[in-house]
């Protein structure tokens, strides 16, 4: 793990929703695994005050890419950065997705800011089904960002402008009708509401899987105890004990944690 000041190589818009930013770091790239994340200080002036967590999207040698969406103050500032400007980046942090799932079929279910880590997973490992939930056609990723996925890519959009109309769980239900529960393994990342729906579908069928949770983080190092997730072993910091958790670890709903 390292915490380094890096120079931005490139920062550009991919589509209506996502931006892509790249930089080089030997120390951080070394050992990075899908599901792990970076903790980025966007400005040295403490505005935004905290760092922001972003998943590894692509790692090629020493070059690292993140894929991000403008959701607020920090990501809006990030999108303004030009090549040559610097960021302070710490990583790799957290526990990765499970790599070996064979002989089971791997189903990835992604939505929103949960897309990047699963696309990276699909670059490193075989995926049988890659399901993406989006609001509308304008959010659909260009083919160039998806061509490395070996399995079937399917989209759902809320307005039906691309792929199947409805939530991504509609796609998941379709697939699960064809597969035996013991033959599949689900890995999901996206809004908590989406992941909870995925988990509900899986658990009703005794299907195993993992969810990469999205909790607000301050330190990213397991110190502040602010990013907790309720597990059968008590509240655990998602930055160090996650962000990827096995479905069986999680206790109660992901949506309202009390």
């Amino acid at each position: 793990m390292a915490d380094e000041v890096v120079k931005i190589l490139d920062n550009r818009k991919v589509n209506e929703k996502y931006y892509k930013l790249s930089f080089c770091s030997h120390e951080i790239a070394r050992g990075a695994q899908p599901g792990q994340f970076l903790h980025i200080q966007i400005n040295p002036t403490l505005d935004p005050f905290w760092r922001r967590p972003f998943s590894f999207y692509r790692v090629d040698g020493d070059e690292i890419e993140i894929l991000y969406e403008i959701l607020g103050h920090g990501t809006a500032m990030l999108a303004q950065k030009q090549a040559g400007e610097v960021l302070k980046v710490m990583g790799p942090l957290g526990k990765p997705f499970r790599k070996a799932v064979k002989p089971k079929k791997r189903i990835c279910v992604a939505g929103g800011v949960g897309l990047p880590p699963l696309l990276y997973l699909a670059e490193c490992e075989d995926v049988d089904f890659f399901l993406i939930g989006a609001k509308s056609r304008s959010e659909v990723m260009p083919d160039s960002e998806l061509e490395h996925i070996k399995g079937t890519v399917m989209y759902s959009t809320n307005d039906g402008s691309y792929g199947v109309k409805g939530y991504v769980t509609v796609l998941l239900e379709q697939i699960l009708k064809e597969e035996r529960p013991e033959d599949v393994f689900i890995q999901t990342c996206g809004p908590m509401v989406m992941m909870q729906a995925v988990r509900d579908l899986a658990e009703a069928r005794y299907i195993k899987g993992e969810a990469s949770v999205d909790e607000t983080m301050a330190c990213g190092l397991g110190v502040c105890l602010g990013c907790m997730v309720k597990t059968h072993a008590g509240w655990l910091p998602s930055c160090t004990e996650g962000p990827v958790f096995d479905f069986s670890q999680l206790q109660g709903s992901l949506i309202c944690q009390t």
Partner: protein, 312 residues
């Protein structure tokens, strides 16, 4: 490494430098060890330990605010027994004085904790009493009751141990100088100023608090001027040892507190943004001393110049 002498003495204790950490803001896991050499710190301060384990508050527990953050962690910790069993042996290996922060719901808890920690004097060098956590229900205790309970807690700890005692206070408790005087009168050796300030932030979409506990403790640069003020006032009025806490992000911040007289400097929220903050602040203080021909930190400490006051 440093030509500047940063040695800080308080009540028979010698610290290699004035830098410690804010309770609950620092790690002992390997992740943190990658960035911090614990043996370069002046002192280590633990997260609050309570008599029994505490699971902490529901989520969300933290939120970012302008120049700071709110937290309502709720003193999540594994309790005294686990601390004695697992953490004391760990700290015993680090050659840095350990300050253990404790809290209780009643005087009996404080007494129990103090007695147990007194037996670990080889490792535990001082106690910090968290008398001011804003995130724990007080059972609706009124203001006077609260003050009585604080004094009672200090008294029982004093009776239980001769370890140096620092009472950690918050302006929420009322007139800080007055309470500081009272806690010193009943046996505290020094004060930690300040704990977080109770605050609140509203989610404008859901129209509810951004923290499940509704209110949380404000920390970070936003509270630094308040902390500087109280360290200054208490040092002027009482001259007793003070651990400064509140918004120390840089060496410049630390030096402000030193000038108004702080003995130790607790780096808190800064650790979340930069795990190396303590180390960088330490280097920055040495640099400032060199730049200002200061050979011993005591020449800087409490050097506030009233006669230099700009006042047109």
């Amino acid at each position: 490494m440093s030509d500047v002498n940063l040695t800080t003495k308080i009540k028979g204790l010698t610290f290699r430098n004035p830098i410690t950490v804010g309770s609950g803001t620092f790690g002992t896991k390997q992740d943190f060890l990658d960035y911090v050499d614990y043996e370069r710190l002046g002192a280590m301060t633990t997260k609050t330990i309570t008599r029994h384990p505490r699971t902490g508050n529901p989520m969300p527990r933290i939120c970012e605010t302008s120049a700071g953050m709110l937290n309502a962690i709720g003193l999540q910790n594994r309790g005294l027994e686990e601390f004695l069993k697992n953490k004391i042996p760990l700290f015993a290996k680090i050659k840095t004085p350990l300050i253990v922060n404790i809290a209780g719901e009643a005087a009996g808890d404080f007494q129990h904790l103090a007695e147990a920690l007194h037996k670990e004097k080889d490792v535990v060098k001082a106690l910090e009493l968290n008398l001011s956590c804003p995130n724990v229900e007080e059972g609706g205790a009124g203001f006077m009751r609260k003050r009585e309970r604080i004094l009672e807690a200090v008294k029982v700890v004093r009776d239980a141990t001769d370890l140096p005692i620092f009472a950690k206070l918050s302006p929420e408790l009322g007139d800080v100088v007055e309470i500081a005087r009272d806690v010193i009168d009943v046996g505290a050796d020094g004060l930690t100023l300040i704990n977080t300030l109770k605050g609140m932030a509203v989610d404008t979409e859901r129209r509810c608090s951004r923290i499940a506990n509704i209110t949380g403790g404000l920390s970070g640069p936003a509270i630094k001027p308040v902390a500087v003020r109280y360290v200054y006032e208490v040092k002027q009025a009482l001259g007793v040892p003070v651990i400064a806490s509140g918004g120390i992000m840089t060496a410049q911040d630390a030096i402000e507190f030193l000038i108004v007289g702080a003995d130790l400097l607790a780096v808190g929220t800064a650790n979340f943004i930069n795990p190396r903050a303590t180390m960088e602040i330490l280097d920055g203080i040495s640099q400032y001393c060199r730049d200002h021909d200061i050979t011993h930190i005591d020449e800087l400490r409490g050097s506030f110049h009233h006669e230099n006051q700009i006042s047109g």
